[in-house]
């Protein structure tokens, strides 16, 4: 009888311990990380760059087989994007506790460099344009999502 009660208590204790650990894990997962406040300039610049990139992909998709699609025809776009990203990075680095956004922008910069490299190697096929466009939109959305989350 005593042994039965002891077992029951042990199970209850173990159950409570598991609950406590789960609650602690949940709290840890929800822990707030200090970050810089929302920056409307970053928001606007990223939105502008996204539109610029979308225009580029629309142009590339429209050119399939009906016009020159060589890299040389698009150097203005790559130059403008590099300048825009440089400006975004300088501003992002100047803001305190903004490391995540800086990391995201560095990755986006790397993606633009890869896109330029890919284009230098040859014209992009329709499938390539669609895939790359989707990837860029994912990056832009993620960067904007984080920036907008800073508003809250």
């Amino acid at each position: 009888m005593v042994q039965g009660i002891w077992h029951c208590l042990t199970y209850k204790s173990a159950g409570r311990a598991v609950m406590v650990v789960l609650c602690l894990l949940l709290l840890q997962a929800c822990a707030l990380v200090p970050t810089t406040p929302y920056d409307s300039s970053t928001d606007k610049s990223i939105t502008r760059l996204q539109k610029h990139a979308a225009q580029h992909f629309v142009a590339l998709a429209a050119l399939q087989g009906v016009g020159p699609c060589d890299y040389a025809e698009f150097t203005d776009f790559y130059d403008d994007a590099a300048v825009a990203l440089s400006g975004l990075l300088v501003r992002a680095k100047a803001l305190p506790r903004n490391g995540v956004t800086v990391e995201q922008l560095l990755l986006l910069q790397s993606s633009f460099e890869s896109l330029a490299k890919l284009h230098r190697l040859g014209c992009l096929s329709p499938v390539q344009v669609a895939d790359v466009w989707r990837s860029f939109d994912t990056s832009f959305s993620a960067i904007l999502r984080l920036e907008l989350a800073k508003k809250g």
Binding site: L25, Q28, A29, V33, V100, E103, Q104, L107, L108, S110, S111, S114, L115, K117, L118, L121, G122, Q128, D131, V132, R134, S135, F136, T138, S139, A142, I143, R145, L146, A149
Partner: protein, 101 residues
């Protein structure tokens, strides 16, 4: 230099994906939604690999295109709050399973 086999390339893709994902996710919590995007990325990477094997893409084009895919996933990972590094490990394991099938 000997031409790489399909398995060699798959192993390389796996190594690249795992390294990038682990690097991005290890310090940042990630969301289960990421898994879906990671699977899409893997499918795209494998499709690219097939194009390279068929001779439609050069290895340089493959690397550049794959770099863009991976970067998008890494940017996405960075913007997530939530579940923690356990998910990152699960994610990398799932990717490994997908790639080695």
């Amino acid at each position: 230099m000997a031409k790489k086999s399909k398995n060699d390339i798959q192993t390389e893709v796996l190594a690249i994906m795992a390294r990038h994902l682990a690097q991005s996710a290890i310090e940042r919590p990630i969301d289960p939604e990421i898994l879906s995007q990671a699977q899409t990325t893997i499918n795209q990477a494998l499709a690219l690999q097939q194009q390279m094997l068929a001779g439609d893409l050069s290895s340089q084009q493959f690397q550049a295109h794959q770099g863009i895919l991976l970067n998008a996933l890494r940017v996405r990972l960075l913007s997530q709050g939530g579940v923690g590094r356990l998910w990152a490990q699960t994610l990398v394991n799932e990717l490994a399973d997908l790639l080695l099938k």
